[in-house]
Subunit: 479 residues, 2 copies
C-alpha cells in the first residue's frame, strides 16, 4: 500500500529519465519553479545541500591560499565589450537593466553572466608591481544567463556559483593554477560527492569565450549522458591586454599579467541526483546529505518507544551526526518512503522489540540492506557506516562508469556506443569538421581530450583519415 | 617619521569625520568603488569581516530554528505591485531589466530591492494546512536599490544582506518572532560587534513599506549620529491578504497567515568602523577581526629573530587564533602603522632582547598600551587578552553612548543636544507634525520609541502641548 503510494509519486527512471528527474527535484522539495521564466527557488532541503557543498569547497579554496571577495552584479555594457570573443560568447544571453530609479540609463547595465570583465577592470587598478602578485580571489555569487531551454539545477536563467579569478606574473604559474584547480574540483567530486569524473582539455570549439584553453570535469549520469560539472580556464594574456593589466616586474620591465578563472555551480546538485538516484528517489552521499540519519519510532504508541527514539537522536546529534527524528503522526511505512525518497543515507527504526533486545534496525539507503546493530556504541557504528556508504557509493559509480565507456574505432561503433548509453573514446585529429559531423549526426560532442592516453589507432575514429596529431577524445551526449 | 607618514594617509576624524571614514574604508582596502554608479567592491579584508559576521549570525539563526533558502533575483513587475504600500515605498528606487536574450521582455523584471513579493507568491503555493506552519526561512543575498547619494557600506546601489521571512498561524507567534529576532540582533551586536544599541518600535512614518509595525536597532557613531543597524517587521496580514496566503486551521477554518521579515546588511561594517575607529584607522573587535593578532619581527636580520617569530605564529595558529606574521621587507615602524590602521586587535613585536628574556612585546590596538608577556604559555595569554579587549571595547562604547544621550524637555534643548553630537530622549505624543518639524528644523528623526521608559514630563518636548498618549522617543541625526 505504502509502496504503491510511493510509486505514484515518481516516474519510472528507466522508462522516462527526464520525468523521473523532474519528479525527484520537485517532490523531494529541493526546488520549485520561480514565477519568472526559467528561474528556480532553492527550498531548504536543496539549499542545505548547496551549503554543505559550499562549505567543503570554500575550505579547500582557502587552504590553497585563495581569498573571497565580492564584485558588483551590474556591469556597464561597454566594459563587457572590451574583450571581443568574450562579448560574442555572452552577449546573446545577457539580461540588461535599462531603467533605474525611474530614469532610463544613459548606458545599459548587464546583469553579470560571469564576472571576468568587471573584475579585470578593477585588477587593472590594483595591480602595479610584482609585489602585488599573485591575486588569488574567489567569489560566491548569483549570475544570470538567458537560456532558451531550462531545467532545475542544469540550466536556469539565474544560478548560484563560485568564480575564481586569479592573476599571475608568469604563464607557468597561471597554468599551474588552471590545472591545480581542476584537480581540486576532481578530488572534491570524488571525496565529497562520490562522483568519478573525467578531466581534460576542451576542444577549441567548446572552450570558454575569451580563454586560451579551457579544462573541464565531466561526470557520467545514469542515462549515459555527460554533465559538465566544473571548468577551469587559462586566459593567457587575452584579458590583461584587453583591460590593460600590467605590472612592473623585478627586471624593471612592464609586463601583462597571466590570468585564470574557474567555477562550479548549483549544477553539481543536478549531477548528484542523476549519478546516484534510483527508482525511489534521491540517494545522497553522507558527506553532503543535509540529514545523514533519520530515526523512526515503530509502534510509537507503546511505552518507552518515543522516549528511547529521542534519546537515540540526542546521542547521534552529540557526536556531530546530522540526524533527525521523525515523530510526526504519519505511519512508519509512509515515513520510510518519504525519507528514502529524500535520499537520507541511514534509517534507524526503533520499535519495542529492538529496545528489548538492545538493538536498532538499520536500513542503508544506497543498497536498501536491512540489518540490526547494538544500541551500545551506536554512535561509532553509525559514523563507520556513513563512511562505508560514502566509499561504496563512489566505488559503485566508478564501476558503472567504467562499464559504460567504450573504445570506438569508427562512426558505426561511435553511434552504437552513444545509443547504448555509453561514453566513447575516439582517436581524433582535432579537426573541427569531424566535431561538427558528430554533433550533427549523433547529437554528441567532444567532452574533453584525454591527452595522457595513447592513441589506439592511426586513423581518426570519425572520418577514418590518417591523423597528423592524434589525441584520444571523449565523446558523449551531454546535458 | 613613520607617524608623519601615517598621518598623511587618513584625515583627522575630529576635523572631517566623513573624509576620515572614506580614507579608512579605502586605505585599509576594505572596499573600492565599482565601475558603475554607487557600487562597491568588497576586497578580501572587507569581505572577511562580512564572512565572520555571517558565520556568527547564521549559526544564531539556525539555533533558533531557521533554515536558509534562495529565491530568484528578478521579480516580475506585476508581483511587486500587489501590495500597494510596498510598491509605493520601493518603486522609486528599483532597477529594471527590460531586455534579455536579445529581446525586449513583455513584462519588465525588477532586480529585487527586497524579496517579500516573490517570497509571498511562493508561500501562497506552499502553505495549505496548519501542519505547514511555521515557515522560518532566511536568505543571504544581494539586493539593488537605486540610491541618489551613496557611500561605501552605508548606502550603495547594491549591497549584501540577509532577509528572514517567516509565516505563522497566529498574531502572537508572529509578534514573538518579530521581537525575538530584534533581541537576537541586539545580542549579536553586543557580543560580537561590541556595539551597544537602542532597540524599539519605529514611528509610523519610518516603518517599512507594507508593515504593520517596524522595530529597529540603532547604534551611536563617534560623531553622535545614529546608524540603523537592523530592522524587524511585523506584517500582520497585509501581505498574506495581498498574496493570498491561507491555511486550513485545526478548527477547519481557512485563515490568512501572519508574517514577519527581518534583515541586517553590510551596513553593519560601516557601524563597526564609525563606532570603534580612531585617528589611526580601524579598531576591530576580536570576534570579528579577520586578523586577530599580528607578529612583527624586530631587527629581523639578527640571528634567530625570524625563526622565533615564525614559531610564535605557528603556536598561535595552532590554538585557533587568526594570526598573521609580517615578514615583508618593510620597516617595523611601517608595519606597526599599517596593522594599526587595519585595526588588528593585538600586535606582538619580537626582537633579540625579547627572545633573550623569553618575553614578547605586546601592543593593544584599542588602548595602544604596550607591555610584555612571557613567551611561556603565550597562547593562553593572547586568548585571554583578546577576550579582554572584546569586553573593554563594549564597555567603552557603552560609556561613550551613555555620556551622549540627553533627556530634553523642549526644542531648544533638543537642538542643543543634537548640535553637541548627542542623542535626545524626548516625550512625544506620536504626532506626525512634531516629527516633521524636527526633520525640517533640525534634520533629525525619531529613531525608535522607547516604550518601556516612563515619560518624564506631561507635555511634548517638541511642540510643548500636553500629550494624550505620550511615549519616550529617541531622536538623532542619522546615516
Amino acid at each position: 500500500m505504502a509502496e504503491k503510494q510511493f510509486v505514484k509519486e515518481i516516474a519510472d527512471m528507466k522508462a522516462d529519465f527526464p520525468q523521473w528527474y523532474t519528479d525527484v527535484v520537485l517532490k523531494t522539495e529541493l526546488v520549485d519553479y520561480g514565477p519568472s521564466k526559467g528561474t528556480m527557488v532553492l527550498r531548504p532541503y536543496g539549499y542545505a545541500i548547496w551549503e554543505n557543498l559550499q562549505h567543503e569547497l570554500d575550505s579547500r579554496f582557502k587552504k590553497t591560499g585563495h581569498q573571497n571577495v565580492y564584485f558588483p552584479l551590474l556591469i556597464p555594457e561597454s566594459l563587457l565589450k572590451k574583450e571581443a570573443e568574450h562579448v560574442e560568447g555572452f552577449a546573446p544571453e545577457v539580461a540588461m537593466v535599462t531603467v533605474a530609479g525611474g530614469e532610463t540609463l544613459s548606458e545599459p547595465l548587464v546583469v553579470r553572466p560571469t564576472s571576468e570583465t568587471i573584475i579585470c577592470s578593477m585588477y587593472s587598478k590594483w595591480v602595479n608591481s610584482y609585489r602585488d602578485l599573485p591575486l588569488l580571489y574567489n567569489q560566491w555569487a548569483n549570475v544570470v544567463r538567458w537560456e532558451k531551454t531550462t531545467r532545475p539545477f542544469l540550466r536556469t536563467s539565474e544560478f548560484l556559483w563560485q568564480e575564481g579569478h586569479t592573476v599571475h606574473a608568469t604563464e607557468e604559474e597561471a597554468m599551474r593554477e588552471t590545472l591545480g584547480m581542476l584537480y581540486l574540483y576532481r578530488d572534491f567530486a570524488k571525496e565529497v560527492l562520490a562522483l568519478p569524473t573525467f578531466i581534460g582539455r576542451k576542444s577549441e570549439k567548446e572552450k570558454f569565450a575569451g580563454a586560451d584553453a579551457t579544462y573541464g570535469m565531466e561526470a557520467m549520469m545514469l542515462d549515459g549522458k555527460s554533465l559538465q560539472a566544473g571548468t577551469t580556464h587559462h586566459f593567457g594574456q587575452k584579458f590583461s591586454k584587453a583591460y590593460d593589466i600590467q605590472f612592473l616586474d623585478k627586471d624593471g620591465k612592464h609586463k601583462y599579467v597571466w590570468q585564470t578563472s574557474w567555477g562550479v555551480s548549483t549544477r553539481l546538485i543536478g549531477a548528484l541526483i542523476m549519478a546516484h538516484g534510483d527508482q525511489r528517489g534521491l540517494v545522497l552521499p553522507p558527506r553532503i546529505a543535509p540529514v545523514q540519519a533519520v530515526v523512526i519510532p515503530v509502534a510509537a504508541h507503546k511505552e518507552g518507544v518515543v522516549d528511547n527514539a529521542q534519546k537515540l537522536v540526542a546521542r547521534l546529534e552529540n557526536v556531530g551526526i546530522r540526524v533527525k527524528g521523525d515523530f510526526s503522526d504519519n505511519s512508519p511505512g509512509w515515513k520510510f518512503n518519504q525519507w528514502e525518497m529524500k535520499g537520507v543515507p541511514v534509517r534507524l527504526e526503533l520499535g519495542p522489540k529492538d529496545i528489548e533486545q538492545g538493538m536498532v534496525t538499520i536500513v542503508r539507503r544506497d543498497t536498501l540492506e536491512k540489518f540490526t546493530l547494538p544500541l551500545e556504541n551506536i554512535e561509532q557504528s553509525i559514523i563507520n557506516l556513513l563512511g562505508r556508504i560514502q566509499c561504496d557509493m563512489y566505488e559503485r559509480s566508478l564501476a558503472f562508469r567504467d562499464a559504460h565507456v567504450r573504445t570506438v574505432h569508427n562512426m558505426a561503433e561511435l553511434k552504437d556506443a552513444l545509443d547504448s548509453g555509453c561514453f566513447a573514446k575516439v582517436v581524433w585529429d582535432k579537426d573541427e569538421n569531424c566535431e561538427a559531423e558528430v554533433k550533427q549526426q549523433l547529437q554528441a560532442t567532444v567532452r574533453v581530450m584525454l591527452e595522457q592516453e595513447k592513441p589506439f589507432q592511426k586513423q581518426c575514429s570519425i572520418c577514418g583519415k590518417p591523423c597528423k596529431n592524434p589525441v584520444v577524445a571523449l565523446i558523449a551526449r551531454a546535458y
